[in-house]
């Protein structure tokens, strides 16, 4: 409940002088809170490094520039769209349509008390609020890019994400975090298992379905794996995402409250760890060999799963949530492949399936008696139906006007060459060793020429 509190606090302060809650926070605490929130915003930003490296690691080298370009666009466009209208759609203050829609106007500006303790109970300033939330918005869109990778048209994806992040994400987000109808009903999503991850996940599902699978992935009844090009990048990407989650969940406390922040970070890390182990064991059992990419997906599954209730479940609860998420993600990847929905990085399994699980898990494991499974389920369904319809509408409109998928030739030659006219990696012949005596002042370029044991 973000903007509702400052609005109430201001009203209370005006109507009942002397009872303003803002007096409880000292200027020093305000600074500490705000510093932590700004750090958290930076940590959430790190998730974009994670997505960039993870997605390029799990896709083929001929498409790396393209995937990185999409990731770059999303964060840049996401922040700008959020400043233009997203923030004020998500936190309208007043709802014009019964808790479903409200808009506080274009652009961002602090208003009278945006940078004081009165704004958010001394938790952060207006600007910090905007930035922290903007980072979340961009995250929702980047989830989609993994599922549509290697075959979506760049321009089509850019158009989709502008509407998805610009309009859909903040409007449905306002239903909970903006104080809308789901919030009033008691639905709980601490840091966005539903609002960020499942919203992104539904978009990913629709995108993958409407695009169709990559050429060669499903031939007859067989599934031909298309292995990723760079496992170190994928692994580093997941660890960066985990690091980012310190801010994603830790910052969702909305202050530097020692107990809440430290507890939340613990549940977060426990769930991630449990998810990793569960996914490792499940993939080992299912596939007879332990799969690294599944273990990595397991970490993310645990993180997504704990995100709805990181501050409100017990230690044991967080471990169980992570374990179940880790098992779910492995089976989910298998199921989606069986029904021929091609998801190059497992985005749908990680974010949609585990996002739903995390949301429902609040109804099962929360220590707060006000949380109920039924309310969580209502929220899941509401977000699911709405996001499905919106994503289908946007992707559908894009498909009808600009086309969604690259041509077969473009897909085979690689999007880097087809859409960008360049390579991500230096494949040029002739950029090899120079004789030291001939080299200009800089050191010789290193390219491997001799073959070593790689068998």
């Amino acid at each position: 409940m973000r903007r509702i509190i400052p609005v109430l606090a201001l009203s209370a302060g005006l109507l009942l002088p002397g009872l303003a809650m803002a007096d409880d926070v000292t200027p020093g605490q305000f600074t500490a809170n705000n510093v932590w929130m700004m750090i958290a915003a930076g940590l959430v930003f790190i998730m974009h490094l994670g997505f960039a490296t993870l997605e390029s690691g799990l896709t083929r080298a001929k498409n790396t520039t393209n995937i990185l370009f999409k990731n770059t666009f999303i964060v840049a466009a996401g922040i700008l769209m959020y400043a233009l209208l997203g923030f004020n759609l998500m936190y309208p203050g007043d709802f014009s349509l019964g808790g479903f829609f409200g808009f506080a106007g274009f652009g961002i500006s602090t208003g009278a008390e945006g940078n004081t303790i009165a704004y958010a109970d001394g938790g952060y300033t207006y600007w910090t609020d905007f930035l922290f939330q903007a980072m979340f918005a961009a995250t929702a869109a980047t989830i989609v890019s993994g599922a549509v990778a290697e075959r979506v048209k760049l321009a089509s994806f850019m158009v989709f994400s502008v509407f998805f992040v610009g309009l859909v994400y903040p409007i449905v987000g306002s239903w909970k975090w903006g104080g809308g109808w789901l919030d009033q009903m008691g639905f709980y999503d601490f840091a966005g298992s539903t609002l960020v991850h499942s919203v992104g996940g539904w978009g990913a599902l629709v995108g993958a379905m409407m695009l169709g699978p990559r050429i060669g992935k499903y031939v007859g009844d067989r599934m031909t794996p298309i292995p990723g090009s760079n496992m170190p990048m994928a692994a580093v990407g997941v660890f960066l995402l985990w690091l980012g989650w310190f801010g994603f969940n830790g910052g969702s406390v909305l202050s530097a409250d020692p107990e809440a922040t430290s507890f939340t970070l613990v549940t977060t890390c426990l769930a991630a760890s449990a998810g990793a182990i569960a996914a490792m064991m499940t993939s080992w059992f299912q596939f007879s060999k332990p799969d690294l990419s599944m273990a990595l997906n397991g970490i993310l599954a645990g993180l997504v799963g704990i995100t709805a209730g990181a501050d409100t479940v017990s230690i044991l609860g967080s471990v169980l949530i992570g374990l179940i998420a880790g098992v779910l993600v492995v089976y989910s990847v298998t199921v989606f492949d069986r029904i021929k929905i091609d998801d190059p990085v497992g985005a749908i399994s990680v974010h949609l399936v585990c996002g739903i699980w995390g949301t429902l898990a609040v109804g099962i494991f929360s220590t707060n008696p006000e949380h109920s499974f039924v309310t969580q389920l209502i929220g899941v369904v509401a977000y699911g139906v709405t996001t499905l319809i919106c994503a289908t509408a946007i992707f559908g409109a894009v498909k009808a006007t600009m086309g969604l998928r690259v041509s077969e030739n473009e897909e085979l030659e690689g999007l880097d060459l087809a859409e960008h006219g360049s390579h991500a990696y230096d494949f040029s012949l002739g950029s090899g060793f120079m004789e030291p005596s001939e080299a200009p002042k800089h050191a010789p370029l290193a390219t491997s020429v001799a073959a070593t044991d790689r068998a």
Partner: protein
């Protein structure tokens, strides 16, 4: 002059190079190739799906020598690059019409020694 092309297992390259050096051959060209003969493919696993990799990584060594060295080279390569198992590789021998040293323009035997 003859050109000798040897396709060997990649981890045997250092041994082969050493063996060739011992019989006086200090120059060669090496490239990474893929191929198969009687060596069947092996299967790999990715996210639960099995797929067969048929083209095995190999290394190709190319050298040009005078005719009288050909047999020695062949023996040296067989001894250093062979392991007794299927997939050890092959040696091909071709006639060479001419060789030219780019720096000096020398031709024939002085170009390759």
């Amino acid at each position: 002059m003859k050109k000798i092309e040897a396709i060997i297992k990649p981890f045997k390259l250092d041994d082969a190079k050493a063996a060739l050096g011992e019989i006086g051959i200090d120059g060669m060209t090496v490239s990474e190739v893929r191929g198969f003969g009687r060596q069947k493919g092996h299967s790999e696993l990715y996210r639960g799906a099995e797929y067969v990799v048929e083209f095995h990584p190999k290394v190709k060594i190319e050298i040009v020598v005078l005719d009288d060295l050909v047999e020695k080279v062949s023996v040296a390569l067989r001894e250093s690059a062979g392991s007794g198992k299927i997939g050890d590789g092959k040696i091909f021998i071709y006639p060479v019409e001419e060789a030219v040293r780019i720096r000096t323009g020398e031709r024939g035997e002085s170009a390759i020694s």
